[in-house]
Amino acid sequence: MDPVLIRYVREPNSFTLDFYLQRRQGYEGLRKALAQTPEQVIEAVKASGLRGRGGAGFPTGMKWQFIDKKTNKPRYIACNADESEPGTFKDHLLMERNPHLLIEGCLIGCYAIGAKVAYIYIRGEFHHVQLVLERAIEEAYKAGYIGRNILGTGFDCDVYIHRGAGAYEAGEETALLESLEGKRAQPRLKPPFPATWGLYGCPTAVNNVETLCNVPLILLHGVEWYTALGPEKNGGPKLYCVSGHVARPGVYEATMKTTLRELIEVHAGGVRDGRTLKAVIPGGSSVPILLPHQLDVQASFDGIAKAGSLLGSAAIIVLDDSTCMVWLALNLLHFYRHESCGKCTPCREGTDWLFKILLKVERGDGDERDIALLENVAGLITGKTLCAFGDAAATPVLTTLQHFKEEYIAHVQQGRCPLVAPWRAGPVPAIASH
């Protein structure tokens, strides 16, 4: 299939309004949406089966339908551009090279749910992307696609950027709203869901960048075109981020009929330097590992779920045989320990414990009891926190223990890490206690 979302990203000035209008039928989707009623737009998005691209895969049309329409409070679209799941870098490309597609998606979303403002919550580290988006928004204001009486239809809408400041947790939808309100990015108790109690207590739809970028395409090319692109219930184009030990890491667009093996071996050129594949993390750091024999599955929400993992944010991290799996769990737990927002005790304390026990094992100072303790502590986190972060943090430990327990045992028996790859730093420094 020809790419739709990222087709022109390598062409000069593809981020400009002129390019968008001339080469991509820019804002035609918006024009078509505004010619329909908001209910019809939601129906079309529902019929397309578009599923959220941020990680959970929840149907976008349903999310919009849940928005409380009877209230007289304002409604909002909050676009989640906090892209911070390790291994994910697709929204970055969309925003930097095709920003008007996102703006158009925000506008259609606002029209569908009756909102007058969309906030794009972009992570603080994407400063260069933010500059491109700001420029695009300014262009769109000047051309009358954003602002008052858009395209002469009487529809008013504003699009604003809100810059985050370095917090993984802000990618969780309620934490994102808290951060937008000028507070710490910590999740809220759900329910109430954002559809009834979101930003400033008003009905809010929180949608991922890639999700909103799909919406203009549905309006432009029609529901049938969209659903035909993928397997049942997994329609539309999909962006995959392939990184790690592959020859050509990058963002690849495909339909969800593609298999994981194709993405890794054909698109990304397979494992680099003639090494062999050890394992694959198919959907960002918080999903279970798949082994080389499990890759002949469709890279769809349902296909990867059947194989025992999750598509998540479609961040495929490829690991070759030089990777120590205890080190991998340690690296990811360093991440989760740093990023835990601290609201729920099991996650705040548990990630700290997991990290420190893993450090002890990786350094070769652990014993069998530590391996059992890891399993125990991870089990005390899963399902006991307000948001999915807790489960995500426990997953790297549980999945490496499930598939590579012998590596943990080797660390304990040999009193050192048996597999220190040349790309790693010297010995892990000692810590005071333990």
């Binding site: 917090a167 990015a185 030990h245 963002v251 790309w423």
Partner: protein, 200 residues
């Protein structure tokens, strides 16, 4: 931070290296331009929700002063109409707000999985050796600070180092020293920027 008695509080692997905001003894007030800029930003939010502008307000402080001081927190609270505690609450949560003076070039090495798989740990080692400072430190002249950062979202261009607000991509460990020299000689022009930008 764990509160268990067997846990180590002062060790090298503590989660947070963040210091409390300091009172540098200097009063803080926005420059007139920044004050105007702040009000422009605050208009993006409903009038009764000015607190939403805390993050942008703190970015303005950081651009003006280099880091966030106690007096700056007071000023932001006053301008927004909230308590200083509410502002400090935010400052202490987000990693991109500095509470102490930083070097002219803040180098932040992405240390998370995809970058680490391609040598980020060694990049940090090399940078640390070239600069003569450890992670979390600033050199005596105030030129460089070295930090580690969690996933920047550029895993296809690993290893990535953020230099102030810009990205330097595909930094092989062997090239780390050369980057330091290039920064000394040419400043931020030495940074490769983001590969997606094809219009150079």
């Amino acid at each position: 931070m764990s509160f268990h008695p067997q846990m180590d509080y002062a060790g090298a692997h503590q989660r947070s290296m963040r210091a409390q905001p300091t009172d540098d003894g200097q009063p803080f007030e926005y420059t007139p331009e920044n004050r105007v800029r702040f009000e422009e930003i605050a208009r993006r939010y409903p009038p009764e929700q000015r607190r939403s502008a805390i993050l942008p307000a703190l970015y303005l402080v950081q651009r003006q002063r280099g880091f966030i001081t106690l007096n700056a927190i007071q000023h932001v609270a006053q301008v927004i109409g909230c308590t200083a505690a509410e502002v400090e609450d935010v400052v202490s949560f987000y990693t991109m707000f500095y509470t102490r003076p930083m070097g002219r070039y803040v180098l932040q090495v992405c240390r998370t999985l995809s970058c680490a798989l391609l040598g980020a740990e060694r990049v940090t080692e090399e940078l640390s050796a070239a600069l003569g400072i450890g992670v979390g430190e600033t050199d005596a002249k105030g030129t460089f600070s070295l930090l580690e950062v969690e996933c920047l979202g550029a895993c296809d261009r690993a290893p990535v180092v953020m230099v102030n607000d810009a990205w330097h991509e595909c930094l092989a460990p062997e090239a780390a020293r050369a980057l330091v020299e290039a920064l000394k000689a040419r400043g931020e022009d030495a940074v490769s920027g983001c590969v997606h930008k094809v219009e150079k």
